[in-house]
Every structure is written in structure tokens, then in C-alpha cells.
Symmetry: C2
Subunit: 424 residues, 2 copies
């Protein structure tokens, strides 16, 4: 029986869908990595009674660790610390060292806004330093301290109280792992290993059969927790196993490689964007795109340090721009259409030449919702990568709506560029 | 006392963060629009005991309407219908009319995959047609029917059982509104009106004061549910009120306009992207961008029909590209730097001229993490919009990391373009 954990996300703006919660799924992954079984994620508003109710339900459900996010701010409706104190049967006390620590954090901010109401700031500061007696304090990353609060007596979950903003929550979660109550819980969870394989280009129909086939060959996959999912057009096989079952995983991975090695591009969770960025070191790339409208250039630039290898791009949305800016001739468009093998290749070559890059990428397609024909339906996209080794051109018929076609196109183009960059 | 509602999202892949849940927040907004008070969103995995437990907790919390999403598929671990049947004290029965309805949906699919195992398909079909006795059936949009299930006896929540894929869930939610159990619940909820105002350019510090000031002038804002939030650099004021309180809302809106009318750009929820698209009808635009790396062009193209007014763009990431492709002279970069008033203006002018557009937009800035100097720190971005009325240039120091700077830059550029397009 695994140690059960729950996540309690608080905040009316999250509950009402105005702010999208990222903490629940993030904490869920961290819990799993650390060997907990995640029983649930509950989102409640700012009402203390709802918060308390949710905590009590988690206790009744046999949950041993609860992480809360949000409700640690300086205002009156930020009540998580107080509610958790009540839940654990602990009085609220002012921690003077913590008050001073928060005051130190606030001092430089007060300088920046000379008209700030200092009394209000001091009151807010004090409120954030009132914590359940006997809790372990996690140093603030913003101004809000986190807490690890165990029951004052009897059985019940340890509650890890974290702030809502992810840039505060993430490092404070890391810090919580070295607190005494967390160390004690972690001693009861199995040590897990995790590995992510990524594949690109497998037909959906082949996918379902793979695991069954591998099991039929006698490998006991029940010792592995395998999650296969389709993400941005790629297949991701994430596997978790308990220390000691490494040889089963190795045998499983070997079988996957035997079957699908040719289309596996990452053995250790690397993204295609990271791989392309790495392979571009010392080389340069430029792009010419139509239906993706700048998305592919933007995706290349997402990587910090992209200015070392990304020279630039042309977004050629209209035919006249393709002609003027990319030396695609009117005759070429006339005879083959703007969405064609020939125009994609011409765009890739033009990007390479005009920007003086080692690699040129061309993308032209029908993103929809309009503009499709019987010959060239919505979703048809041509891709080309030009280099001194020649020009690699191919087309894909992408399912889905306008946003899907554009997004998926950037993934396909990235893989084509990867193939051109990879030492063969 | 408002009628309370809860949302129960099921699925191990959602719980573990592999799939991002969109149904919880979406249903939460629909519940609120229809006058329910949303008490909580709970996410559980595929284990029936966790599902049943969550339903019982919602009953204990006095929740009158529960919507579930997911777990209606044809496989053995899709157990939502059965668990809800048990929860409501209703036997599971085969609905033969429904079985035939699903068979009809599957027939054309079977044609497409001639190697399909027809017995397996029939078994799956039958499984999906086994429903709690006496439930109201919502016609499938995919292959899974939805259900509205009331307690067989006594008090308890009505459970609305919906499939997981949003494109099925959304129309089936709409359909559920005309079922008898939903009509009865809706008769107990207040009729609400909703309006969204959007503002751009208000300093954070002014924001907090506004509502307080308006209340001090004697308006009873407690009759309005006002949510103010910062989203993509804009302020959104979403207000909900009960029919009958319209005059209070009108007075509130009047006060907002009196104070912030100059920076309010939408009175009815329109996005800046939609407004710009509307104003561009009959005119054309082209862009030249550096730090945003194609994101601004891509954002313009996000709108269906953008090809009517968007000609194209240049992504000039390196200085050499700025010089070659955009006629920005080396001297200009030498004397003012690539991130400068002058270069932004030259880029906007060049985009306009080279693409032959009515409007040209130029963006150049330091996105980070590297490349910042004391003079030109990370986050400094210059914007320019050129038209036959001249060139409007301005700079903004954007806080946050690389992704924030790039994303926020596209919003600022969109607003600058909006200002240039708007009849003055």
C-alpha cells in the first residue's frame, strides 16, 4: 500500500477559471516522482469553511501528505495558514524572527515606492509572520513564507503550505524536501527511477499493439508504470519503476528500440527543440514560412541563446510577398500553386540564400478554415529544408482545425530540420 | 443561499498532469453564468473507490449539482456511469434504443477500418449503452452518451455525466440545459448578466484604489460580483449581477469610464486582437520584429481571415539581417544600438515599404536572459508603428523572464497598432 498524497489548490480566481492552475499538475508530478500515490487534486475558493472541509475529507480518505497552494498573501482573505493551523489543532503565534526576515525582504521595495503606506506594509508583514505554533518554516522566495505543519496530536496528514505563484512554489517545494516531517514521510515511499523516450512518425494503429506484443514475449511489464501519450504530434513513453527493477526497464527499452528505434529521437526526455538547438551550435539557420505565420521562427527563438544560430525569417503570407521577398517566381506559383513541393523548396532555398544561412526551412500550407480545395484540402502542408547537401521536401496532411494545423506544422518542420542536422 | 455546484474531473492522465484539464475551469464558468455557486473542482484518477468517495463528499458538502467529465469510453476502466449509478442507488440496465443509436454512429467507422474486430466493437458498443435505470440520456457527440442522473430516493445532488473530450463535452453541456432535472435546478438559481471591460496602460498602484473610491461615493458594489485581473498585460474587469441590478452596474461602469475611459479599449469583452482585425478590414499591415522572433506575426495570423490584411513579416534576429533585409543602416545601429528608437522606427518603415503595406510595425528589444547592459537592460523593448500619418515610437521596460518579455511585447505592439488604426 503506497503512501497517499493530495493536493489542495485554493483561490477563487482559480476555481472560477479566470486563472489557470499550473500548481496542481506540477505538484502531482513531483509527488509521483517521490513515490507517493496521488489520490486527488481539489480546487476550492477563498472561503475558509470550504478549505477546512477539503482538508478533513483528505484526512478521512487516508491521505498522509497534503500540499496546499495559494492564500498566503498579506490581505485579509488570505487565510490558508490560519485554516491549516486550526485543522492541525495548533494555535497561531507571531514568529518574530520571521517577521524581521519579511521586513528585510520588503525594505528595498519600500524604497522604490516612496508613497507607500508604511503602516499598512508593517501590518501585512506581521500578518504573514503569524504561523501555527510548532510548524517548520520554509524561507520566502517572494514575501510569503511556506510551512510544514504536522498534527499537534493523533494521526493525520502532514500539510505542506506553499504560496500560489509558481516561481515561489517551485523552489519552496524543493526546500521542503529537507525538512524533518518530509524526510520522515519520504522514508516510507519507494525510490523510483524515471525515463522518457520520444518517438516521431509512428502510425496510431501500430502503437496499441507494441506493449501487448512485448508482454507476449514474456516480459512482466506490471513492474513498470508506463504512460504512453501523444503530445504535440510526438509519442512520449514515460516509464517509472522502483529501484531494483532496472533490468526489467532495460529489457523493455531494448524491445522498443528493436521495434521503433528508427523513429525514436530522444532516449532521455530531451525535446526536439533542445536537440535542434544543440546540433545548430556552430551552424546557422533561417526560415521562410507562410501558413505558420511566424510560429516556427518564434519556436526556434524560444531557446535562450538562439541568437547564436538563428539569423532570421520571412513570413510570406501573401503570394506577392513570396514573389518579391523570396524570389519565388510568379510562374512557379502559377503552375504549381503556392502550396506545393516546388514553392516550399524555393522558399527554403531563398531563406538560405538571402540570410546567408547554412540551413533554410520553408513551410507553405493551407491552415484553414477557408482556402481549401479538393486537390489541396485544409491541413495540407509542404515542408522543405535546404542545405549544401540539397533540399529535402515532403508534405503532410494534418488533421484538426486552424490552430492544430499551425502548431503541428512547427513540430514537423523541427523534425525535418533535425534530420538534416543529424550526422548520418 | 445560492445553489451549490461541484465539478468532478476523472482520469489518471489528468490527475498525473500528463493531460491538462480544460473541462474543470470551463464548466466552472458555465455554472457561474447559470447562477450556481461553484464550491469545488476535484480531480481523481480512474479508481472507482476514489470517484465514489468524491461524490459522497460533495453530497455531504450540500452540493446540489455535480458535473463529471471523463470515464465514458468503451474500455473496462471507463467506469463513471456505473459508479454514478451506484451512488444514486440505481441499477444498471441496457438501453436498447441507445445501443442501436451508438451502433449507427459506429457503422461508418467500421467501413473505414475493414480489419476491425467487429465482436469487440459490438461489446464496447453494448457497454456504453448500459446506463443507470431512469437516467436522462444526452445524445452522443462522439460515441459516448452523456447522462443526467438524479437520486433514486431521498435528497442528494443531480449528477450530470459528461465525456472527457472538450469537443464532445461542450455541446452535450448545452443539450443538458433542456433536460427536466436541469430545468428544475435552474429554476432555483438567479438569472445573471455579465459584462467584461478591458483596459490597457493602468499603473498597478491606481488599480486597487478605484473600487474603494467608487464605494465611498455611495454606490453599493456588494450587489455586483466584480473580478479584476491582470491578463497578458491588460486589466480585465468582469462583472456579474442579478437581473434587476442592471442600474447599479450601469452606474459602476460610468464611474470606471469617468476615471479610466481613456485607457479602456473594450466595453463588451472584445479582445484587442479582434478589434485590430476588425479595424484592418480594407487596409494592410506588415511587421519587422527582432526580440519577438515571429510571435507578433503569428499572433496577427491567429485570426481566421488574416490573409485579407496581413501581407507578411521579417524576423530580423541578427544585426546583419536588419541591415540587409530591412535597409537599417550599419551607421544607425552603430550610433544608437540595435535596441533603439531609431532602429525600431527604421524597421517599421522598412516593413511598410518593402511589403507595400498601409501599416508597418517594428519591434526590437532585449528579451534576455543575456544581452542586457546597464543602459539597455533585459526587458527594454522599442516599438514603432509607421503609416502615412507618420511613425509612432515608444519604449517599455517589461518585467519578468524571456518568455514574459516576448509575450508582453506582442500585446504592447498590438495596442500601438490599434491606436494607429482607430479613428481619432
Amino acid at each position: 500500500m503506497r503512501v497517499r498524497a493530495g493536493i489542495l489548490v485554493t483561490g477563487t480566481e482559480v476555481l472560477t477559471g479566470i486563472i489557470k492552475d499550473k500548481n496542481g499538475p506540477w505538484l502531482s508530478e513531483r509527488f509521483r516522482e517521490n513515490g507517493f500515490e496521488v489520490a486527488r487534486i481539489t480546487i476550492v475558493g477563498d472561503r475558509p469553511s470550504d478549505l477546512l472541509e477539503a482538508l478533513e475529507e483528505m484526512r478521512n480518505a487516508g491521505i498522509a501528505l497534503v500540499a496546499t497552494s495559494g492564500g498566503l498573501g498579506p490581505t485579509a482573505d488570505d487565510l490558508t495558514a490560519e485554516v491549516v493551523g486550526r485543522f492541525q489543532g495548533r494555535e497561531m503565534v507571531l514568529d518574530e524572527a520571521l517577521e524581521e526576515r519579511i521586513a528585510e525582504i520588503l525594505r528595498p521595495l519600500a524604497h522604490r515606492w516612496p508613497n507607500l503606506d508604511l503602516d499598512a506594509v508593517r501590518a501585512a508583514n506581521r500578518k504573514q509572520a503569524v504561523v501555527p505554533a510548532g510548524s517548520t518554516i520554509l524561507d520566502p522566495v517572494g514575501t510569503a513564507p511556506g510551512l510544514v505543519v504536522t498534527p499537534s496530536q493523533g494521526e493525520g496528514p502532514t500539510v505542506l503550505v506553499l504560496p500560489g505563484p509558481p516561481r515561489e512554489l517551485i523552489p519552496m517545494w524543493e526546500a521542503s524536501l529537507s525538512t524533518q516531517p518530509m524526510i520522515e514521510l519520504l522514508a516510507k515511499t519507494p525510490k523510483l527511477e524515471r525515463r522518457i523516450l520520444r518517438l516521431f512518425g509512428m502510425p496510431e494503429s501500430e502503437r496499441a499493439g507494441t506493449h501487448r506484443e512485448i508482454e507476449q514475449e514474456g516480459l512482466d511489464l506490471s513492474r513498470l508504470e508506463i504512460t504512453t501519450c501523444l503530445r504535440r504530434g510526438e509519442i512520449e513513453i514515460a516509464t517509472t519503476w522502483e529501484a531494483g527493477d532496472g533490468s526489467i526497464y532495460d529489457a523493455f527499452e531494448e524491445q522498443i528500440i528493436k521495434r521503433h528505434g528508427a523513429i525514436m529521437f530522444a532516449r532521455n526526455g530531451e525535446t526536439i527543440d533542445e536537440l535542434v538547438a544543440g546540433l545548430l551550435k556552430g551552424r546557422t539557420v533561417a526560415v521562410a514560412e507562410s501558413c505558420t505565420g511566424g510560429l516556427f521562427a518564434a519556436r526556434i527563438c524560444d531557446q535562450p541563446g538562439a541568437s547564436d544560430y538563428f539569423l532570421g525569417g520571412s513570413v510570406a503570407y501573401s503570394n506577392s510577398v513570396k514573389i518579391q521577398q523570396l524570389n519565388v517566381t510568379a510562374e512557379l506559383i502559377e503552375s504549381h500553386g503556392a502550396v506545393s513541393n516546388q514553392v516550399a523548396a524555393a522558399m527554403a532555398e531563398a531563406a538560405r540564400e538571402r540570410f546567408g544561412a547554412d540551413f533554410g526551412v520553408g513551410i507553405t500550407g493551407v491552415a484553414g478554415p477557408d482556402g481549401g480545395t479538393e486537390d489541396k484540402p485544409v491541413g495540407l502542408v509542404w515542408f522543405a529544408v535546404a542545405s549544401n547537401a540539397g533540399c529535402d521536401v515532403r508534405s503532410v496532411q494534418i488533421p484538426g482545425g486552424r490552430a492544430d494545423v499551425r502548431e503541428r506544422s512547427t513540430t514537423i518542420a523541427m523534425h525535418l530540420l533535425h534530420r538534416a542536422l543529424r550526422p548520418s
